[in-house]
Symmetry: C4
Subunit: 126 residues, 4 copies
């Protein structure tokens, strides 16, 4: 297997939620929702993210790139274009890349004094 084949081109994260408040020093302890992306290929990956909501049409695509042989821990908090992801609102996301990547979903929730964490591998589709 060559490193060109590491991962999948389409991933889904059915859970998404950016807690609306935080405790502790920024930016480490700011409540955040993250898609951790590994691009083990030699060349840059061009990625589109679509965000799905409960009560309105999906928003996107959000565009980003991850250089070859790099990871990117993308905070949904930082998405701006076409519009920010609202806080305290359930969402889901679909991540499509022009070459294979690996995606893991992590949240840090610091709404209360002591932070909580969750993580899971995202769901690989194709």
């Amino acid at each position: 297997m060559t490193k060109e084949q590491i991962g999948a081109k389409i991933w889904a994260i059915a859970e998404g939620y950016i807690p609306g408040s935080s405790h502790g020093p920024e930016p480490q302890m700011t409540s955040h929702e993250t898609a951790c992306i590994l691009n083990a290929n030699e060349s840059e990956a061009s990625i589109m993210i679509t965000v799905f909501y409960e009560d309105r049409e999906p928003i996107g695509p959000y565009h980003l790139t991850v250089r070859g042989r790099r990871t990117k821990h993308l905070r949904f908090n930082d998405l701006k274009d076409p519009e920010p992801v609202p806080r305290d609102t359930p969402f889901a996301s679909l991540i499509e890349s022009n070459q294979p990547i690996v995606v893991q979903h992590t949240r840090l929730d610091s709404r209360q004094a002591e932070n909580a964490l969750l993580s899971t591998i995202a769901f690989p589709i194709g």
Copy 2:
């Protein structure tokens, strides 16, 4: 791949437990058990959930729909028909849809002053 093919039609979550007490503002910090569902298809998904217990027959199906291009973060706490899911009781669930969906399992446990979180992709079956 078309978006009609995103996910699986049957999913299992072997873990299930709604903590019987909570701290903090409702409904965000209420202890809850969630099946986050992404329906990336154009059309509505018709979904049946069966809940399995340790010491009695399974209960269900619970019926719900998720509109096309929408997500739904379903709290097991909110299931009512054919009967509510008891608190402080281990269960598991089987989720069957008439078209492909993606399912992720999340719990917020606020029995103590500071909440804890867990999440995992559910198990896709077919």
Copy 3:
């Protein structure tokens, strides 16, 4: 798909650790390591668990059964025969069933005043 085909017969959990201390009321808040098992078949599943350690030979098999159409949330804390699983000791486990099951791994760690949780789908092998 019939319910006879839900899951896999062999699962691995590479992480395992029973924290040696606890805070809060027993047994709910006792630090524990759990294999949540769903047997969606009509008939009883006969299951063997082997526990692997870092510095000594594997121990097992531990034998258990899960009735048809039932779940069992098995605490590794409760395994007794051939020997208890030591606390504060890294382990891993292999779970083999005579028919398909679904396995999810969960830990509640209450060594400190506020509990922490983790969970993941186990790794299906065959």
Copy 4:
């Protein structure tokens, strides 16, 4: 299935982060990032880990072995050669073995007084 076939030879963990501070007794409560590895084979597994960063070239391989019929809960905190993994820095990892293994990713974050946990099965590649 023989135990020689349990797992995959290549795994990816897209999330990685060693919190830079800790509360509580060492080493149990030291903030750590762990790759839990199960080698259910009879013979030793020879493993190479490559660590990917956001802004510089990957570092590795780190070499380790896991004896046959053993688990190893490897803390990224303990990697030394070719260089330590920096704290408070996002990374990802690729784990390659000469025979099948199972890998699960766990973090204990004790930056605040009460620890948080996350875990997920790693992503099996081939």
